[in-house]
């Protein structure tokens, strides 16, 4: 076989690998949209489920997912940012920072169900929060922590060291340098990465399974200590636990569609932020 053909087939294989990714994503979206779109209407978005979830909507699950994602963000974004600032700006390259980095890597590899059970033990029982928005949000927050720390650190690394040195050489303290000359440039990148982590968390089932998600609630959560309905868990029930699965199948697809749209919307925010950020950097 000539070298030219070798190259041709090599590139074809690589291109194929790329196209498979595209195909999988579009097939999933096509499948969900085609089977779920017909069940989506205003009532579906704005009403609670009725008649054993065979009718009505998923409003409480949308609200619940929104609330729990907000709590997740409140836990994971500041902790992740502060942790990243410490690691990238202050920590000496020693045993402690190696240990922290190892912990972050391993934390990222812990299965989500283990996080769920950990959340039960720590937040539900030990802190006595009970199954609640706050227990679930904290659990998800810890789960996304590796993502927010890593993303924030990457964002800090993109700030040229010359900006730090220039500021320090003018007699600024480290903190002044970080506050006025590093963070303003890093925060958009930090936000982008963190939002992608949150989008992932919004779709998780296992960590909220025992920490606060409810099978069915007739009312919306009224405090952080209430249980809540959530889209991924609701979908899980409709798809596998319902007594009449074939009847609720269209509702399950519609729920999946809402969840996917929600996650894509969150990702879109991150993308818009990134584009804006990139432009800002280039113009200047």
């Amino acid at each position: 076989m000539s070298r030219k053909y070798k190259q041709f087939f090599g590139f074809m294989a690589l291109r194929l690998a790329g196209l498979i990714v595209l195909f999988v994503l579009f097939y999933i979206i096509y499948d969900i949209v085609s089977k779920g779109l017909s069940s989506i209407n205003w009532e579906f978005i704005s009403q609670p489920p009725r008649r054993g979830m065979t009718e009505g909507g998923i409003y409480p699950a949308i609200v619940g997912t929104f609330y729990v994602t907000v709590i997740t963000a409140l836990v994971s974004v500041p902790l992740g940012m502060f942790g990243a600032i410490y690691l990238n700006e202050y920590a000496k390259k020693g045993r402690l920072s190696r240990l922290i980095r190892m912990a972050i890597r391993n934390l990222a590899g812990v299965p989500s169900i283990v996080f769920g059970l950990f959340g039960v033990a720590l937040f539900v029982q030990w802190f006595n929060f009970g199954p609640s928005l706050i227990s679930a949000g904290f659990t998800l927050g810890l789960m996304t922590l590796p993502v927010t720390i890593t993303a924030s650190e990457e964002a800090l690394k993109t700030v040229p060291d010359a900006y730090r040195k220039g500021s320090l050489a003018l007699g600024a303290t480290r903190w002044e340098t970080i506050k006025t000359n590093v963070l303003p440039l890093a925060i958009p990148g930090m936000m982008t990465g963190s939002i992608l982590g949150l989008a992932r968390a919004a779709g998780e089932t296992a960590p909220i399974l025992f920490t606060g998600a409810a099978f069915f609630l007739p009312h919306l959560p009224d405090s952080p200590f209430s249980q809540f309905m959530a889209l991924p868990y609701h979908l899980y029930i409709l798809a596998t636990q319902h007594h009449n699965i074939s009847v609720v199948r269209p509702i399950a697809y519609a729920t999946a569609l809402v969840l996917i749209v929600l996650v894509l919307l969150i990702n879109l925010t991150a993308i818009i932020l990134r584009i804006k950020y990139r432009k800002k950097f280039e113009n200047k």
Binding site: S167, L170, T180
Partner: protein, 253 residues
């Protein structure tokens, strides 16, 4: 010229972990003169420069022994306020490093962190600093535009203005013109000569002609040692050491 001593370095040793970057350096830098440090790459001249405003503190594994006195105050003694030291000893880097802010905010950065908030006072400082760095005429109508839009030579003069804005006594310059074209280089050199009337300047340079053109005294570093330090004419015309002569005549390095 018999100016008084501004910086007195005694038995200075600097280590990066196990590597000794500076060996027993002794040097007196005179007030309001330009002192040039020359030598091949890795000879320790930049390390020496960073010892003078303690920027080496930022390098992990760096360790310093010996005495560096500025105005008879040892800057390595315990309790030295590094912030006010760096305010007094400004630094300009090899690559122009304007902050991604407006020209105005770049110059006002230093004064602001040192507590000056009054707008008219800041205006004065910005104007004066830009005039002193010979940049005012070129940028006075666009102070609010990004400093990154300036040319390389303008950026470097901006960085000099930024350093001047905190009113230092000493300016350390680490190859300030090596990233610039010849025209911009000659402007920086003229500027340095002007600045030497009011400031003590220490410049690291790879360019021996530059050292010969602008400096009053020249120090030749080789492998962490200060081989020779004397008046610039002496160094370039009749150096005492064979190694110095070999270097300036281009026989090595």
């Amino acid at each position: 010229m018999n100016n008084k001593t501004k910086v007195k370095v005694e038995n200075l040793n600097c280590f990066y972990d196990d590597f000794q970057a500076l060996k027993d350096i002794n040097m007196e830098i005179k007030s309001k003169e330009i002192t040039a440090l020359i030598g091949p790459s890795g000879c320790g001249k930049s390390t020496f420069l960073r010892c003078l405003n303690r920027m080496n503190d930022l390098i992990e594994g760096a360790r310093i022994e010996g005495i560096v006195c500025i105005d008879d105050y040892d800057i390595y003694q315990n309790g030295t306020d590094v912030v006010s030291l760096r305010k007094k000893v400004g630094m300009v880097f090899q690559q122009p490093n304007p902050f991604p802010k407006s020209i105005y905010d770049n110059i006002a950065y230093g004064p602001r962190i040192h507590g000056i908030k009054d707008r008219s006072r800041l205006n004065e400082i910005v104007e004066k600093s830009l005039k002193n760095s010979a940049l005012w005429e070129e940028v006075k109508d666009r102070l609010d535009t990004s400093a990154l839009d300036l040319s390389g030579g303008q950026q470097q003069r901006l960085c000099i203005a930024r350093a001047l804005a905190v009113e230092p006594d000493i300016l350390l310059m680490d190859e300030p013109a090596s990233a610039l074209d010849p025209v911009a280089t000659s402007r920086i050199e003229d500027l340095m000569k002007d600045l030497a009337e009011n400031y003590t300047i220490v410049i690291v340079t790879h360019n021996m002609q530059q050292a010969a053109r602008i400096s009053d005294r020249t120090g030749f570093f080789l492998m962490g040692e200060l081989i020779e330090f004397d008046r610039t004419e002496t160094i370039f015309e009749k150096p005492a050491q064979q190694k110095t002569e070999d270097y300036i005549t281009g026989r090595f390095g």
